[in-house]
Structure formats: C-alpha cells, structure tokens
Symmetry: C2
Subunit: 713 residues, 2 copies
Amino acid sequence: MSENPLHKIMNPASISIAGASNNFRKMGTIQLLNLIKSGFTGDIMPVHPKEEQVLGKKAYASIPKLPYAPDLAILVVPTALVPEMLEDFGRIGTRSAVVITAGFKETGADGRVLEKQIIDIASRYGIRFLGPNCLGIVNTSLPLNITVSPLLSSGGHFSLASQSGTYIAQTLNYLYRNGISLNKAISVGNEANIDIVDCLEYLGDDEGTKAIGLYLEGIRDAGRFLETARRISAKKPIIAQYVGGNEAGARSGSSHTGAMAGPDFIYDGLFAQAGIIRVDTIEEVYKIGWALAMSPPLKGRRIAVLTNSGGPGSGIASTCHAQGLEVPEFSPEIQDRVCQYLPGLASARNPVDLTFHIGMETLTEKIPEILFQAEDLDGVIIHGIMDTGFVDLLYDSIKEFIDVSREDFLKVSEANLDKLVNMPSKYGKPLLISSFFGREDHCIRVFHDHAIPTFDSPEKTAKAMACLYKHLLIRRKVRDVPARNAGRTIPAEALDIVAGRKEPVIDEYTAKRILKLYGIPTTREIVAQTSEQAAAGAREIGYPVAVKACASFIAHKTEQNLVFLNVEDEAGLRKACDAILSAQPEAGILVAEMLRGKREFMAGISTHPGFPPCVMFGLGGIYAEALKDFTIRLAPLSRSDAMEMIDSIDARALVGPYRNMEEVDRQALADILIGLGEIALDLPAVKEIDLNPIIIVDGSPKVADALMVVTDR
Amino acid sequence: MSENPLHKIMNPASISIAGASNNFRKMGTIQLLNLIKSGFTGDIMPVHPKEEQVLGKKAYASIPKLPYAPDLAILVVPTALVPEMLEDFGRIGTRSAVVITAGFKETGADGRVLEKQIIDIASRYGIRFLGPNCLGIVNTSLPLNITVSPLLSSGGHFSLASQSGTYIAQTLNYLYRNGISLNKAISVGNEANIDIVDCLEYLGDDEGTKAIGLYLEGIRDAGRFLETARRISAKKPIIAQYVGGNEAGARSGSSHTGAMAGPDFIYDGLFAQAGIIRVDTIEEVYKIGWALAMSPPLKGRRIAVLTNSGGPGSGIASTCHAQGLEVPEFSPEIQDRVCQYLPGLASARNPVDLTFHIGMETLTEKIPEILFQAEDLDGVIIHGIMDTGFVDLLYDSIKEFIDVSREDFLKVSEANLDKLVNMPSKYGKPLLISSFFGREDHCIRVFHDHAIPTFDSPEKTAKAMACLYKHLLIRRKVRDVPARNAGRTIPAEALDIVAGRKEPVIDEYTAKRILKLYGIPTTREIVAQTSEQAAAGAREIGYPVAVKACASFIAHKTEQNLVFLNVEDEAGLRKACDAILSAQPEAGILVAEMLRGKREFMAGISTHPGFPPCVMFGLGGIYAEALKDFTIRLAPLSRSDAMEMIDSIDARALVGPYRNMEEVDRQALADILIGLGEIALDLPAVKEIDLNPIIIVDGSPKVADALMVVTDR
C-alpha cells in the first residue's frame, strides 16, 4: 500500500506560500501570519512578485527562484494563476500542496475545466494536494496552522476532517472556550486529488489522534469509506454529522463543494455498518468527539450522577435513560458510604443531590472517590462544581461589606480539584462535567487544563456519556468479514437470465428462480399459460393458492387488480385465470402456494450513485409504505451486518417470540439478506429488488412476492 | 375568580426576611444582599434575634417587633422555626410568603407532618405562600430579586416557572452570557400552597411576559393544567421540559420535591393538547423561549438562510427541513437582486453562501434587506456576522506589524448593525443569529442589546425557528370546546351495568353494549350458552363468523386459545364451541360477524393518578404491541383534539386513501375517541378500555374486540 499522502502534507519540514503579502486584508496574509505564529519550526518561503520581505520573511519573486523545492506548497492566489503555479512547483520538485484558492468545480462548467487541468498537472508531477476551495490544515503536534484563525491551544487528541472549511478554520476560538484542542484538522475542499476517505485513513493511523470527527456533505466512494471506517472504528471512535440527506441540505452542500449527496437513510445504514456514531449538530461532533478522545473508554452503562441541585440531576438521569444508559439505584453499601457526607435532606440513591448548602469538597472529592471506586458503576457525571465564576458575580455587591480585594476574594474561593481531575485515569472511568459556567470560572479552567470534558447543559453531558457507551457497543461488535464471492461461483443460470433481458422488469416467477439459486426460500409455484395448466398446478400445490399475472411487462400487479389471494377452489381459480387473461392475454399465470403467517417483512436491493448496492430490510405487508420502518446496509453483508439489520427496525419485537407466535429463524432471515447482497454484486445489471411480503410461516421466512428491475439497456 | 396569589408575591411594596445575617456564608444573607442590590424600592426589614443592623438595614429582633405587617415574608430559617415564624407573620397581618427553607415533605414522614402544619397555619391566616424548599423569585419589571445570584440584565419578556430552584436561582450568569434576560422567574419548591399551575396562570395574564418557560418534574392536577395552558397558548407561547417520564428521572425528581411524575407519553399528549412546545433540554427552554418571547411571530414556514460559509448554511438548511420548515429556492427576482451583491463564486439560491472573502455590509444590510422585503419569505437566519471577536484573536500576532493600539484596532473593526437590528420589527419577521462567538464579539453584544436571539450553533438556530413555526401552528389550531356532558344524560343502562359489577373485567359482549350506548359502532353479535344457540346466531349473522369465549372472568382470551376467527361453516362453529365449553364450561359463547378489512387501529382509555382519563388512539392489530405507535389526549376531547390524534400517529398515512384502499371516515374515527372520553367521564369506575382491533370496513371503523376493566371493589 502506498503511503497516505497526508503524512507529507501534515508534517512538512519546509513550506512555500503564494498569495500572502503585507496587506492584512488578504486572506493569504492572515494565513501566513498564523503559520509563522503557530510555532512551525521549518523554513517558510513566501513567493511574491514585488515584495522583498513578507511579514518579515524573505520573499521570492517566483517559484523557480526558490532556493530549493519546499516539502509543501500553499496556494492562495487568484484562480487563473493556480495551474501555472502548481506546474512551477511540480517542476522544481515539490510533491505536496494545499490549494486554498476557490473558483473551480463548485462554480460551474469553466471551473470544472480548470479543476481537471490542475488534476492533470498534479498527476503528471506526482503531486498530491488538498483542495481546491479549502481553508487549510492544522497540526498542533508539529505545530503547524495555516488557517485564518490563530491557534489557541494544543495537546488534545481529537482530530477533524471536514467538507466545510469553516469548521476547521473559524471555530478555534469556540473550541478554546469549550476546552477543546484539536490535534489535527483538515479542510478537504473540492477533493480533486485527496479526498475525505484519505483523511479518515490518515487520522485512523495517526498516533496523536484518539478520536475522529467528520463533517460530511456527501461521500463519493462509499464502499472505500465503509471499509476504512469499519477498520478504524474497532479501536478509535469516529463521530460524524451528515447534512446532505434532504433537498435543502443537498442544495446548500452542492453549491459550495460540488459533492454528491445521498438520502439520509443510506447514511444511517452506512454509519451503523461502519461503526460511526452519528450526531445531528456540529456542536456534538466537537464536544462529544472531544469526550471520546480524552476520556477513558466506558466499560459498561451504569452511570453515577452527582449534583448539588435537583433539576440538573433529573435532566441528566432522564437523558441517560432515554439514551440507553442506566442510572441505577446505588447498592446499600455505596448509599451508606455516600450518606456520611450528606446533609440530612439529601438523597444518596443516584442521582445524589447534595442540595445547595454544602462545601465544595464533598462534591469534588469525598463522594466522587466513592463513586469511582464502586465496581458496579462505570462512569461519573457531576453537575454544580463552581467557584470564582459564581463568587465574582457577588463581589460587586459584597465589596462594601468586606475589606478584601477582588483578586483575594476570588483566590480564597478557588476550589482544589487536584484529586478529582486525576480520578478518571486513576480508576479508568470517564468523568464528564456539567456546568452553567464557562472559563470565567476557575474550576472550568482547571477541567480544561486537565482535558476533563465540560458541557454547558446537563442533558448534553448525559448525551456525551451515551456516546461513550455507543463506542463500547461498537468496539464489542462481532467483526466478521463478508464472504465477498470468495470461493463461490456465480450461478450460470442467473447470469443467463439477466444477460437475456430485454425488459427492465424481471417477471415474478423468473425473479424467484434467481432467488432460489441463491438459497432464498420462496413459495412453491408454477407458471401456466392456460386455465387448465393452472388448475393442474393448483391441484399439485394444494388449495388455497395465490393466482397472479406473471410477465415482464407488468410491474404493478396489485394496482392493476391482477392478484388473487386465498383462492380456495378450482372455480375460484378459473375465475382468476379468466380475469387475468382477459386483461392481459399475453401474460403468464402464476399459481403459488398461499403462505399462512401473520408476520410480514420486506427485503430488497436499491442502488445509488457512488454507493455499493444497498440491502434493505424492514416491516412488510400493507403497513410497509405507511410506516417506512426499514434499515439498509451496503453489500456485501457479513453475517453480523445482517443480524444487526434485523435488530435495527422499530418492529424488531415481531422477530422474537411474539404474542402467541414462535421466534423467527433469524439465521434464515439473515441468509436472505446476505443472499440479496450476493445477487446485487454478482449481477450488477440488477438495479432493484423488492421482496414484499416475506411471510413468516411457522417461524421460517418465505418470499411471497418478488420484483426485480434490471438496467434499461 | 379570586385574584392569583402571585400578584401580591411578585409585586410587594415591603418585604421582611428572616434568616439573613451579616455572615456571607449563609444563603439567606446572599439572598438579602441580592434583594438590596436588585433595585427594589420598597421597605426591606430583616428579622434577626441579635444584630441591630443586617447588611446596613435596620434589623428587628422578632416578627412582632416589626413596625408594620410587610406585604411579603421570606423565610430562610432552620426548618423547625418555620411554623412558628409563619404563624407570627400571619398574626401581624402578612398574607404572602416565600418559604425558602427545605426539610419538609421531600425528606420523608416527619417532613410531611411539618409541611401539613404550615399548610394549616397558612390556611388559618389566609396566607398564600411559595415553597417550602424553593429558591426564590425574580421580577425584573419591579425590580425584585431574592435568589442567590445577582441580577445581570433586565428588559426581557421571557418568564419562567420551575420545579427546580437551580433553573431560577443559579443560571442568571448563563442567561446573561446568552443575551437572555428574564422578566419574571418563580421557583415553586414543594408546591404546598401555590402550585405550578398558579404560576402558569399568573404568567399567562402577566403583561410583561410574552412567552413562558416551564421546567416540570410532575403535575398534580393535569386537568387544571391543561385548561389553563390551552387558554394561554392560543396567544402566548409556552415551552416546557418534562423529566419525570422515566424511572431515573422520576427517582431524582421525587427525591427533591416529592412531586408526582407520570409516563412520558402522557406528557407528550398533554402538551400537544395544551399547545405547549415540548423540548428535551433546559438550554432549549431558555434559548428558544427567549426567541419566542422577543421575535415577531412567524407567519409562514419559508425561511431564508444567509451565511458566509457553506457548512453552517448546510447545517441550518438541513435542520430546518428536518424540523418541518422550508428553505425554498428563491424566486428569480430575489436571486437577481441578491446576485448583485455576491462575489462570482457564491450561490444566491438559498442558502446564500457569501463565502469568506466579503465585506460585512453585504451580510448585515444589503442582502438581509432584500430577504426581509421578500413577500414569499417568512423568517431569516444569518450565520457569520462577527467583528471584534475574530479581530481580537489576531491582534497579538499582528501587532508587531502595525502601529495601532488594541482598542483602536477593535474599534475600527466594529460592524454597524443599526439597520439589521431594526429589520425584524420594521418588517414583522423574525431574525435569528448563529455565531461561534460569544459576548467577546461586539456584534453579539449589539444583538443582545437589541434582543435579537443568538445561538452558538447553526442547528440550534434552525431548531429555534422551527419552534416559532410550531407556535404558529398552535395559534392556528381550531379552539373548539369539548362538550363535557353538557345537555347529555348518562345512559341509565350503562350506569346499571357498571353499578352491578362484581368482577374487575366487563365481558366483551357487555362492554360492546356500553360502546353502542355511546354510538360507537361494533360488530353484530350474539351471546349463546350452547352450540345450538350459537349456530342459530351464526346463521342469522352470516358466515364467516368469529367465535370467542365471553365471560367477565376471562381477560386474555387470545392467549388462552379461546378465540376462533374466520369460522366458515357450522361444522367449524361447533368445533369452536366445544373447545370453548370444554375449557371454560361457565363461559358464554360470543358469535360475531367477521369483519373484512386490512387496516386495523386501536383506541382505549387508561387512567393515571392526577390525570383525567386518557384517551388513546394508535395502530392496532398484531403489530400494535411491537410498534407502540399511539398517542393520547385527556378527556373530555373536543372534535379537533380527536382529529389531531388521528393525524399524530406515525402510521397516519393508513387513514388517508392508501394503496388501493379508500379513505377512512375520520369523523367516525373521531366519534369513537370522543365517545370513549365520555364513557370514562360518565363512568369513573371504568379504569381501562381497550378496543383492539378497530377494523376499517369499506372506510368505516368498527370495533372488533373490546375489553373494559372497572375498579376492583
């Protein structure tokens, strides 16, 4: 495997930048300024046609005049200059670049031509580049920062790759105020050469990165993304926001990066399969990503909640519960130990509510130590620790009554958090802090200095803990590999059927033949051309039967009243045949056993540009359309993928023993889903499969109806 | 109607406080300090046994020694002293009190006795009081503040009533940093005398309050709450968080206020019926409540999004869409007008993305004016306005290159927002601001000064706009009043049936008789004692029929295999009768028409302490239990309540014309729900009704099975 191109881009020994000057109204100048001030220790060589010096650095009039080929070239020049300058860098031997300049693919036809041009130049010289239309990179380990915002902190292990430059370049102050420091950050822009999957792969292997955040507007190679992400997520948490899944989001996304979006439900399935924690806001990407990066991993879901006030305790407990965590009532032993520190009115059951009148030590040392020590508790959330933030508010009112300076007044109020901040590493359990104060409070600053995640609302703290638990479930997932056709030959008959197609629709009978070739259980059935043949078939199958029109030119049989279910006898059969043949004289007559079962599921295949075939599973029957209770995964499916699908639908209770009905054979259901994935990969001309209903007969799934659509050639 | 007791509590001309001293480690002292500093202009009379002066105010050794009866008494004394002091205040003529002191009902049996004692004292003297176990009140209109936090701002029109004191007393700094200023805030504590519904009613009538926030852990009189809230929400938005709906939340809640919680789904229904906007976090109560209070009301759902960066634009657009708003592509006219201000690369379609390189004026004046003027746009969200917050970050890096002081550097960078901040009132449309900067940025401070709501993440801004839209829908709701038994006599037969009950279960046949008395359509059916009677009945009804055991001592017929559906002929009928009579010789045999319909719903009644009977409607049949797709409303139902229920379930598409099936008669479905509410109110002994399935036959609903449970007497 070739080295990931980001190694060189993120760790250059020398950098040349074109587009920076001494004019601070230019973005390039600000970026050079931030690069210089970031503490980058390598050579920095500005290229400028006129200036001798740029921000105190010796400038070079042109790229050929550079003393040597820099490891990394940065272009913040007018669009028209980019091809020539990239070529110049290529000629002198530079092999890595960041093209900040916009005006390419995202602007239309002319821009696409220009983008193709720089792709070709890069390929000619073996240059790997980020962008165009990106906002730079950050690597606080080196250090290195070429964004428009100055670095404010370092030492964190959370890294970010983003399809929006803003989230790399313009939030460093926001992150600082929230105690978050990025390890690495990459703005990918138009992904003309290096794409978001390269970034994911790089961050996955990067030792400084302990959790990865992604902001996504569309992935172009979902198969590679899935493969990369599922490998990484087994050990390193990935948290992502995807915004392209509806028309408004996609319109916005495509306007600024030209990325390709896809429906929301595909990303739900892709993320689930890849072991990616999906969130809905960039705030959660940052704040929960930070908690995932800096906290000891959660080992179970039993959370202790400690507060000095009831409301936040209830908000935390309630949210924990809603998010799948437990806030168990403490054991009598723990309750006894906690009680010794409680005032008379407080509760020791979990949440522990110290009430307002209490010394900080109980909240910051005594009770936390008990909770961290408890073997039946996995994580701790505390709300209410504060000192100077609160006291400072009072000083102006209080000063006329006391003879103390503000500084001294604040100083004496400072809580000692030395023990608390060490508990997470000492006991190997996460500690998350909820507080309505920000960095004006000394406690918050101490938590930030020790990388203890803080949240400005009780419920967000609980949700972050729930994401630590989600990562535990992802780590524990069975990591079985899909068979992917290895040692399996594609059934020749299936290839023949698809090869011979003239119509887009494959008729039900033939579709079911393909299913059978892949071991998918279907109804016993025959196709007849006449009522007599149908009657003979029905006698063999046994009444009641289903009678349907069967032809590649009929896609919606039910809507055309060409389906007759529960046909009880030969009289009924003949009536059905007559109806079918009079409406569609060219059609065949499918006579199938009538499956008796109350539970109906559906499964299928759909295809989407940029994605491997999607296997679908959901609630079937007449309610399917109204409830849209389904889940997807990308083919090929491993067995655990298929089993997970079955457990992912809202109606999953139907699968287990349900009311008076026996448990569904889950393995058989999984076999259908795996088989569908194989069909889709073996027979790429098949674009759509719809098996609905799949009826559960005595616990076993059987396909009652099947529709297959192939490429219209 | 007697005057709401909070008028006097929130607007006293004189206050006496017991429990404040000159010791700043006492909570009472801090509260007195904040009262003095709040700008309260009335008399403040501390009661203290020893001190001559408390915080510079003349102190009185005891309550009888006060010069006159204060309008309001505040008690922050040890628990044991409360009864005696409350009595003393009553004796001198004080009729309003706030009991901050804790240690009552929330601590157990002794506390309950003590609480009963102060309730009795209050009742004897006609005292109305808040608490005990509360954290005070705020009224910035007066002004008045007796919480532990100093007031930092005023002039807002958002008011809050909370079952957690923290959210009144300890978040004023948080609110200030977010530009939020409370008009009034009330901590209700144990609600021994004044309860949260009193607060809601008071704030509903209060002119200074334009939106109401509620933090709830449990409501004791849901009927009164509903009546009050639905009256207010027609004109004034109410936004609420409820946390008692699960075991962990309820345990936490009950430990500190002793409130009574109820399942989450009841509150979902209650809030929907009352026109309350439900949110999941206290942050949303505050921030969205603020937007609801201070923004012009939204008149439609078409939102314009203007940004200087793609990511936030996509996040806003995507969230708007997910929350039911539209981010429509602009009309060609608007696009033309917007385009003249755009750089070549930017999109004018909506979201408008100016990209990073742009003067602030375009973002703060030119384009906003166009969007506010556009008649086909209802609200505006802007992300990316900033000035000093960003520039200040750069100053330390830039200062060696320029000869300007920090102050001047910041001053010249300040954007002029005069026009923008006036646009919402000028054009009568809401403007919400998304920014990653806080009050360190001059723009944010200007927005706060002009009560333009700001949010620290794009998605939260969109969600707030969606809540403005929710309030529009609530304002537009049909406000029809439930009939509530007026002019209707309770069917005597129904009263007789219930009065004569010995068993908790009413058998199916009798239950359906009650339903029929209320006009609820059921199956045609008879009850037989023998196979012969059953056969005669079946002949009259017509095959196929359903045959079931029918007795008040059998609750779960299906699970006991005493239900036979689709019985086709007399042979089948006799087999079914034999099976029933051999298993349950005492049972009757119900023979009912077999309803033919594919769509199955359910409806019912459930009862919960503190709540009027709950009417339930949902998806029925065998999937009901697995999908739990239902909604509830409290009886009595208005017609619009019932219609809203039908449209509230996930499977609502089933009701409309669906696949080949005709539209369900919604009025007939609503009649069933209204009838159930009437039964529950007429016959309070009926504790549970379960109609499942209700089968849709040719578009009309008919009850196929019914279970009624009465009080076990």
